[in-house]
Symmetry: C2
Subunit: 138 residues, 2 copies
Amino acid sequence: MLSKKTKYALHALTYLGKHKDEKTVLIQEIAEEYGISHKFLENILLELKKAGMLGSKKGKGGGYYLIKEPKDIPLSRVIRLLDGPIAMLPCVSLNYYEPCAECVNEAVCGINRVMIQVRDETLKILENKSLEDILKEE
Amino acid sequence: MLSKKTKYALHALTYLGKHKDEKTVLIQEIAEEYGISHKFLENILLELKKAGMLGSKKGKGGGYYLIKEPKDIPLSRVIRLLDGPIAMLPCVSLNYYEPCAECVNEAVCGINRVMIQVRDETLKILENKSLEDILKEE
DNA sequence: ACAAACCCTATTTAATTTATAGGGTTTGTT
DNA sequence: AACAAACCCTATAAATTAAATAGGGTTTGT
């Protein structure tokens, strides 16, 4: 399951996408829209900013704004940033690979094989769907 | 990511599948094969038994054994039993549905829509792949 | 009778996630 | 220049969940 962090990030990005004609949007405004903690959301937006997905303006009249076109923000990127691996097993993760401690021999592991298929089908969607696709539905 | 419980369950089932010509297999034997705690595995096997996937024999000379054909144990069933929902969001889970607390309106949520797609593709694999498919690879 | 091996429930420990805290820095306005 | 609004940053605490352990109970073959 996606963590709250990731869910909040996706919601916040969606909100910013909907308000991209406005120069900036306040953290507080987004937090209120979804009924989530201002401070928790602040940390998340900061992380999105550091990752180059958002811009911000400090001081009075400041706030956050998208610095990319929604179509250029794939959902896989957001999930990986906040949650880490998308795969169901560390041993099939493309970005966060780790061997499974209990695995006797990864080279002939049937569980591994199935989870590679799941990973590939999942990525086929999440790498090709972007913030734009979410916005189109709302 | 799958929990260790689920991973251990899948490995144990695989091991039992490989030894299905033997009447019973000891917990201890499986635990040693994968280097996992006897007691932890015991709890897991018990859960699999209660769910009707395994049979057991008590007392001296006892142990566990499969009571179904490997092809009749879909992976989705094992995962749901030990880990719960397969979906990435509670609001798209078929077996463990719950609304997302922060969601303003599920009826027009773009995140929901994408995650339904991911769920469907994932289930297409996990409901159709069985223990038999894992065994074939090993 | 005895020991092997599963059965059952509860508790503890560890890890992770979620949330809070609190001051720092920048910037527009007066 | 003063002030307040608003983001920046790091650390810590609280809550939840996952993982592991504990310990006795019951069944069964020899």
